[in-house]
Symmetry: C2
Subunit: 396 residues, 2 copies
């Protein structure tokens, strides 16, 4: 008398977690230096010092009952004002605090958006591979349909496939740029072509197709690349943001949903997202974290350590002969399995205690993901093993 | 193209919030001393000093990246161990960390439990009036049915009505003791009769009927009254706890779900609850709050201020002639509207800037709820207004 689908989701933790747990056990057995864990997307770079100090300072300076009390469901108006002020300054927009809903992280934002956009079992959310595997659970558990189109050869927007896939039931298309696991940042130009397609399809089907932008990696862009502000390119956009990666606080569950007022039915959509958050028991985003964001909104992450890791890993693996997607942002390297099978290659690597995630869950079964939000030394010491693995996989 | 039910839930905030917001506006207009807000259940009593200090101390002593990183979905094993150790000591139980799942508060726990117990549109969760109004949204949004039986005359377990209401589709009965809004604590004796009924019905229908115990007020009991440990009375119990009220940290969203190993299908149920939390985007409970709980598990709230308020409010209103439910715990007084209509009486009070919540949402339309987690002085100064209201309502 227990929900079978929920049981199955609980009984089968994500393959990422499974690998990570295996690594923890091996590390105890062999010593941590003999296990090369590249599984999780846990930020390894110290947060901006002002952010670190702020947690302590707020607790010293503000009456604890006031500090830790309920906020309104959408979050402290002062925090929302600070966030939209920052967005308005950076992106020349005109958002108000009523356009933004503070959430327990981007995952919570996405769940509320999917719930708000699900009308019946036909309601569809589309993604493009490679995509974050949990999207599927998030959508299906709200009663809707999840589908995806394959990755384009260059891991850019797969316009042709999307054109085919969007139908009358498509309520939203989700993008994630900078991308986990591909590391790609969509350019303004390709986003414009995507916007044109969505506009055309919305006209054809007589209803808006929302572009849901999952943006936990927005501040993690290298080489000075632009991460375009999506709503300035396509008005029917919804932003799901998180400070997990940019402030190195993934355990604190703080992010937001933004519904730009230009979006069609913006007010109704915002209210439906509020209602959806309410039905999932999200009373408010954690109060102390809201204050930290409010005080530190101008802070940006130190990308230098990730940048060094990126160059070392991408450079070395490419030189060895691996076929790697060049990462523009985030902290993952997406690599073609040299034996053509990401799952088999991940298992082969596991035998050498090199833990890398098979690409199948991201919609790319012939790839593996290597997280480089790790100490630089771990990458350096793993390089000979990656060389061995390549030889082994190619039967050399 | 937006979910109508979600829109409606977002567009109609709870009547409690509506009254509270009205109070905020009036306070700005008239000055805070002229508005008597008894709406919210926000703890007003300072948290135990060790808890207050702990937030700061952890930030001073632990490396920020480690402190704020992801925890496993169920929460830090150390935190779960500390919590079950405390439960085992207090209730002579034998729980392990694998029986407990840290959540973003009791609301999040309840949502995951309802989702795990919903098989189809017939799956029913039953409550007894008076009950927390959000139960309905929580259950219905998971695809199940919510129903309730009326309050017993003495606000105790309404055994006769439950006996009638439980049917083959009933998956769970939810109780909340100490109760919001009634303040009642179910005695061991009446819980035993409830357990017998549930055992009988489970046998009749051939499946367990879980007793879901929503316990944010467990530590708020007066006069040394026992708050019985539910699973020691009925094995198929599920505990949904929160530190919101006991530690005065409702904004921080930290609580737990406990599935005792004695419960039927305990392992499957625990996993289904984990799966349900996963589908709602609850990645983990806030990490810093987990550490605070771990360090402060033995701390208990200072009930003295609530106790003084309780005596003053219950004593004075009863003496005036109001018919009040005697509160054993929590921090609410549930009062029969002297004109027989809680909503009309609440509006009448609003005109005097006395803000009290109509009972209709709790399943008791002839009652109002007065929260006494407020400064004692606010109660004292409102007493003459309550006297006037009684006269007015009785047409004197």
């Amino acid at each position: 008398m227990i929900s079978k689908s929920m049981y199955e989701l609980g009984a089968q933790p994500s393959p990422i977690r499974k690998l990570f747990n295996y690594g923890q056990i091996q590390a105890k057995k062999l010593g941590p230096d003999h296990v090369f864990d590249f599984t999780l997307g846990s930020p390894s770079v110290p947060m901006p010092s002002k952010v670190a100090q702020c947690w302590e300072k707020l607790n010293r300076e503000i009456d604890p009952v006031a500090l830790h009390t309920y906020t309104v469901s959408a979050g402290r108006p002062e925090a929302r004002q600070a966030i939209v002020d920052d967005l308005n300054e950076r992106y020349h927009t005109h958002y108000g605090p009523g356009d933004l809903y503070l959430s327990c992280g981007a995952a919570a934002s996405l769940c509320a958006v999917f719930k708000a956009l699900t009308l019946d079992h036909q309601s569809k959310i589309l993604a493009m591979a490679p995509f974050f595997p949990e999207y599927r659970n998030f959508v299906e558990s709200k009663g809707g349909k999840f589908d995806y189109v394959p990755a384009a050869a260059d891991f850019r927007v797969n316009l042709e496939a999307l054109k085919e896939a969007i139908d009358a039931s498509t309520q939203g298309v989700i993008i994630n740029s900078p991308n986990n696991p591909g590391g790609k940042i969509y350019t303004r130009e390709e986003l414009k072509t995507l916007a044109s397609l969505l506009e055309e399809k919305s006209r054809n089907f007589g209803h808006p197709i929302y572009l849901i932008s999952d943006e936990p990696y927005r501040e993690l862009a290298y080489d000075g690349l632009e991460v375009p502000w999506i709503p300035s390119i396509y008005k029917n956009s919804i932003i799901c943001y998180s400070w997990s990666k940019s402030f190195s606080i993934p355990g604190e569950r703080i992010g937001y949903t933004l519904v730009p007022p230009e979006a069609e039915d913006a007010k109704e959509l915002y209210l439906a997202i509020s209602g959806a958050a309410r039905t999932m028991g999200y009373v408010c985003a954690p109060a102390l974290a809201q204050r930290v964001i409010e005080s530190c909104i101008k802070e940006r992450p130190d990308l230098q350590p990730y940048e060094e890791n990126r160059q070392l890993l991408y450079g070395s693996l490419s030189e060895m002969g691996y076929n790697c997607v060049h990462p523009d942002g985030a902290f993952y390297l997406f690599v073609k399995a040299p034996n053509g099978d990401g799952s088999a290659f991940s298992e082969m690597a596991m035998e050498k205690n090199v833990l890398i995630v098979p690409g199948v869950g991201f919609g790319c079964p012939d790839y593996v993901r290597i997280s480089y939000c790790v100490p630089n030394d771990r990458i350096r010491r793993a390089l000979p093993l990656f060389r061995d693995l390549l030889a082994q996989a190619c039967g050399r």
